[in-house]
């Protein structure tokens, strides 16, 4: 007899405890990754530019994120006099919260049997999981827009306006590239998408897993490119282009509120990495224990994003828009149509 899933109705104390433990563990792990992603970024870029990066605090600068956090925490918190106060306070939170709550649907391991009940290693399995991820990614735009507007400074406003245009354009292409994946999977639940990817490739090749990156290489490329643009990572970081906009939408922010923007950037990176791993690279499946596989995939993606930052110059605003609307969206649409035809022919 297979044990049934634990739920609020069959064993509520176990359900509540496992839920709280899962939420705490995921939250702490994500916070840790976010903190050490700043260290990783400085180290990797340093070595790519033949520097050493942080070396003084701790062994090879390992305590640097803690030192940075303490420094930012004790800095004076300045709110500009002519800023819209409430919106100014709200903006960093509206950027950070959607990034964190996206993790609620990311599966990170095989089901565990605890006390005769199955406990899924995922905070919640929504049957509209992928749409939830897209919706939360869309909400992230508010943080930047409001930060740009409420600061009442021209650099911030320019950064905010650029970011809105960029996010709206690239959200479309990102969404369309994911459509191809769930046309193959015929489900929107991330848990089932991972389960489907553990089967042999196309049902025939037994030594390779059925990762969707093999069936949908174009969608994978489009997703990586568009999501990097959506979270304003470096080849597309026009909203905070230092050379023209000082620091873009976060010019007027200081102390912990500035740190929140920083954390949100890295948290978004971790989210994109986790989603890319789950949708295209088999999620937690792999040679090691579930969560370790997912962590390795996330770290590989982070390294790739940092590598891109060290390599690519920033694109121009009109280039960005032209590429989004005239290249990426038509490609994503064509990919959806081709996938549809192939799926229909295979049936």
């Amino acid at each position: 007899m297979t044990p049934e899933f634990v739920s609020l109705s069959n064993n509520w104390p176990l359900y509540l405890t496992t839920m709280i433990v899962k939420i705490l563990v995921v939250f702490v792990v994500v916070i840790l990754i976010v903190a050490y992603a700043t260290w990783l970024e400085r180290k990797v870029i340093g070595h790519m530019q033949t520097r050493l990066g942080p070396m003084e605090t701790g062994w090879h600068g390992l305590l640097q994120p803690i030192a940075d956090g303490l420094k930012l925490f004790f800095k004076e918190d300045i709110i500009p006099e002519k800023a819209a106060k409430f919106t100014f306070l709200l903006a960093p939170m509206m950027l950070l919260v959607p990034a964190f709550i996206t993790f609620a649907v990311v599966p990170f391991g095989p089901d565990k049997v605890i006390g005769g009940y199955l406990v899924p290693m995922q905070i919640t399995d929504l049957n509209v999981g992928v749409l939830y991820v897209l919706a939360m990614a869309g909400l992230g735009a508010y943080g930047i827009v409001l930060a740009g507007w409420s600061s009442n400074s021209k650099y911030s406003l320019m950064g905010g306006i650029r970011s809105t245009a960029q996010m709206i354009s690239y959200e479309l292409a990102a969404g369309l590239s994911i459509v191809a994946v769930f046309m193959l999977a015929e489900t929107l639940s991330l848990r089932q998408i991972v389960a489907l990817q553990m089967e042999p490739l196309w049902g025939t090749i037994s030594f390779l897993p059925n990762w969707y990156v093999f069936s949908q290489p174009l969608a994978f490329g489009l997703f990586i490119l568009t999501s990097l643009a959506e979270i304003n990572r470096t080849p597309f970081d026009l909203p905070e282009a230092e050379s023209e906009l000082v620091s873009g939408f976060c010019t007027e922010y200081s102390s912990m509120k500035y740190a929140l923007f920083f954390m949100a950037e890295y948290a978004n990176m971790v989210v994109i990495a986790a989603i890319a791993a789950t949708l295209f690279l088999g999620g937690w499946s792999g040679p090691f224990f579930g969560p370790i596989n997912l962590l390795l995939k996330i770290l590989a993606f982070m390294f790739f994003a940092i590598w891109l930052r060290a390599t690519m110059p920033r694109v121009r605003y009109d280039q960005l828009m032209t590429m989004g609307w005239k290249v990426l969206i038509p490609l994503a649409l064509a990919n959806v149509i081709v996938t549809g035809v192939v799926v229909l022919l295979m049936q």
Binding site: A84, F86, T87, L90, L126, N127, V128, L131, Y132, L134, A135, A137, G138, L139, A141, Y142, V145, L146, G148, W149, S150, L157, G160, I161, T164, A165, M167, I168, E171, L188
Partner: protein, 167 residues
């Protein structure tokens, strides 16, 4: 418990809808409208329509409201425009009140038609909300779906024509 939760969400929805009208600053109005959309999404979830909830957040809160904010920021209204005309609000409030009284009277006087469709709650839980919508949309409601598409295409072409005039 569920009823209590419903009242809480409904209270927040009504309060934020009121703030949309009442806020002096158009950006605050827009944020309040986002809050209202969120509450509607929660109500959809409570009605076993998770797909509608996701689309509500994705399309209305995520895309349309960001565009509205974008326009407000681009227009960059001066302080004299920020002050909303209070008599307009009073007129709107009177009209809204009359409409609400009429709606309540109609609901009170009329009887429930007692017609229910062939989709039940159990079916939604078993087959999935999205699958049901997809099947209906591409079989029974194919024509309205296509007409909506053409309507959007016309809107896009119209916007292009209007915007191109100055170039």
């Amino acid at each position: 418990m569920e009823l209590l939760f419903f009242y809480l969400v409904a209270l927040v929805a009504i309060l934020s809808a009121f703030m949309v009208v009442k806020c002096k600053n158009p950006v605050n109005s827009a944020i309040s409208l986002v809050m209202t959309f969120f509450c509607l999404a929660i109500l959809y979830v409570m009605l076993y329509a998770p797909f509608m909830a996701a689309v509500q957040v994705l399309v209305y809160a995520g895309a349309i409201m960001v565009l509205i904010l974008f326009v407000i920021m681009l227009l960059n209204l001066g302080p004299e425009m920020m002050e909303r005309f209070q008599h307009g609000v009073v007129g709107g409030a009177i009209v809204a009140g009359i409409v609400m009284i009429q709606a309540v009277m109609f609901v009170n006087r009329g009887e429930m038609a007692g017609i229910s469709g062939d989709v039940t709650r159990d079916q939604v839980l078993e087959v999935g909300h999205m699958e049901l919508i997809g099947m209906k949309l591409f079989t029974e409601f194919m024509l309205p779906f296509q007409i909506a598409g053409i309507l959007l295409l016309i809107a896009i072409v119209g916007a292009l024509v209007l915007a191109k005039k100055e170039v």
